[in-house]
């Protein structure tokens, strides 16, 4: 499976530019000079095992985590800062929460601004539009706290998109979904990226569900990153250099298997079960 490459065109400023970003927390270098960019319409995967620094990086991009070094720039067409849609990882909702799915999506319009909004036909139409885009019409009027994992995921995506962001960040969206729901979400996100020219960056610890649609990936290990296309990055030599000890990359029936052995030097211990990724 080859990764898609960017269509030709005049060079545009990337929507997201991470430049030698570093984060030091409690004496530990959680992110170490990470650099990459994401352009509009690109589908980028942030791959790494647990503890590699994915969530920290996403938080840094959102401005919730201060950088110890480097910089992160998020551009918006109109020059406005921070037009980022965000879908967090663990969302726990009270089953009795008096909010329907469509109410939560509507909260995506100006939900961070003061005051409240009177009902408006235009707004309702827009909410319906987003609900249709994510395929959520069937449960639009159900309580948002009673939705299944996959259904809630779609609502959160709709909520994030309704503000027309140029960058969409998702923190481990596939983590609690079964295989088929996960595939549906990946296809949905890819459609959103290409049709609406939104830059999509999502984190995952398994690369295979994303292989069909990944434009580029950022591979994180112990705070250090390698970026490029799948073919450029997911290679024995590249990943071995990244991890600091020998890594095997196997291709089995179009899927990728990355095998990391137990750490040879105590500074970079990576547990085997964390690093074995199977499709």
């Amino acid at each position: 499976m080859t990764a898609r490459s960017l269509t030709e065109g005049p060079p545009v400023a990337p929507v997201l530019a991470v430049d030698h970003a570093s984060v030091v927390l409690a004496g530990r270098r959680v992110l170490d000079e990470v650099s990459f960019t994401v352009a509009a319409g690109q589908f980028t995967g942030l791959i790494g095992s647990n503890g590699a620094g994915k969530t920290t990086l996403l938080r840094a991009i959102l401005g919730l985590q201060r950088l110890s070094g480097g910089r992160i720039d998020v551009a918006d067409g109109s020059g406005r800062h921070r037009a980022i849609g965000y879908v967090p990882q663990k969302v726990v909702l009270d089953p009795d929460l008096p909010m329907r799915a469509r109410d939560m999506v509507e909260l995506g319009i100006g939900g961070n601004r003061l005051g409240f909004s009177l009902p408006s036909r235009a707004r309702r139409a827009r909410v319906d539009e987003l609900l249709a885009a994510v395929g959520a019409q069937g449960f639009a009027d159900s309580r948002v706290g009673r939705l299944s994992g996959g259904e809630l995921q779609r609502i959160l995506i709709a909520h994030a998109l309704i503000g027309q962001p140029r960058l969409l960040l998702l923190d481990e969206p596939l983590a609690n979904l079964d295989l088929s729901s996960g595939q549906e979400v990946v296809e949905l996100l890819h459609r959103i990226a290409t049709e609406h020219q939104v830059a999509v960056l999502l984190s995952a610890h398994e690369i295979n569900p994303l292989l069909p649609v990944l434009d580029r990936l950022v591979y994180l290990a112990d705070g250090r990153a390698v970026t490029g296309t799948v073919d450029e990055v997911v290679r024995s030599d590249v990943l071995s250099a990244l991890y600091g000890h020998h890594v095997d990359v196997l291709r089995v029936h179009g899927r990728v298997l990355v095998v990391v052995g137990p750490g040879s030097d105590d500074g970079d211990k990576v547990a085997p079960h964390d690093a074995i990724e199977v499709g």
Binding site: V91, P98, D103, L107, G111, N112, G115, F116, A160
Partner: protein, 276 residues
């Protein structure tokens, strides 16, 4: 029951119920039941302190309630939220006890402060209470969207630039002011019943925020009115009825919802699909 000196009681109870219904819904959504119980105790200390130095009671209520709210909000960021609330609560009660020991408050007045007094509000106090109530409602209206967002999706709210801790502080202060206006009638120990029971019932029965607020206010009004009427007829303290009716209303709503759910979902039948 509706004449003369009771008129004030009905007017104040109506205002109290409206504010309790609105503010209470967010108390329930945010899981702030404990602070809602603790902050009125600050108000209690304030009233005792005001009586000690001869200051205006409503002022004392307000100042101490807000102080309690700020303490809980500020310390709660550093320590555990529930521990801080518990300690602030007992500190306020102890302070109130200390003030009381220096006054010549009669038992009856202490009782009224704690458990409510139907005739507890004089006509001159109606205007400030109404103003305070209006202020609370306006504040909630102004914070409506960020409150909803930070209550349901705090991570997303933070990502969108909402300062969750500021919203929490602001809400606790609104809660304190709502408490200050309601304590004289319903009592410091029981105002939180009105802010928990009816809103909790409303949240079970309504599925969208606007309806939940309306329903919460409606149920709170009914609870308050029935409590006043019951207290008038039986001479029993109004706080008793508020506490019991609020619990009953939630019980009925929750029980009804559970029953409804069980009736709607047919007993699962093992379905065997034809092998493909």
């Amino acid at each position: 029951m509706f004449s003369g000196f009771m008129t004030n009681a009905w007017i104040v109870a109506t205002m109290v119920a409206v504010v309790a219904g609105v503010v209470g819904l967010f108390v329930v959504l945010r899981g702030d039941a404990f602070p809602a119980h603790a902050i009125p105790n600050g108000a209690f200390a304030g009233a005792a302190g005001a009586a000690l130095i001869g200051a205006n009671e409503l002022l004392g209520l307000g100042v101490f309630a807000v102080a309690a709210a700020l303490t809980i909000g500020w310390l709660g960021r550093r320590g555990r939220h529930d521990v801080v609330t518990a300690l602030a609560l007992v500190m306020m009660l102890a302070l109130g006890a200390a003030f009381l020991s220096h006054t010549t408050e009669y038992s009856q007045e202490i009782f009224s402060l704690l458990f409510g007094e139907v005739l507890g509000v004089s006509t001159t106090a109606l205007a400030p209470v109404a103003l305070l109530g209006a202020g609370c409602l306006i504040a909630v209206g102004a914070l409506y969207r960020p409150l909803l967002l930070s209550s349901s999706l705090p991570d997303v709210a933070a990502a969108r630039g909402v300062h969750n801790h500021l919203i929490e502080m602001a809400f606790l202060v609104i809660l304190a002011l709502a408490t200050a206006m309601t304590v004289p009638v319903v009592g410091s120990l029981l105002i939180f019943s009105l802010m928990v029971g009816p809103p909790a019932a409303a949240r079970v029965l309504a599925s969208r925020p606007s309806r939940a607020i309306t329903l919460s206010v409606a149920i709170a009004l009914l609870t308050a009115w029935f409590s006043i009427a019951s207290s008038y007829w039986s001479n029993w303290p109004i706080g008793f009825f508020v506490g019991v009716y609020s619990a009953a209303v939630y019980g009925v709503a929750k029980g009804g919802a559970l029953l409804h759910a069980r009736l709607r979902a047919p007993t699962p039948v093992l379905a065997v699909s034809a092998a493909a």
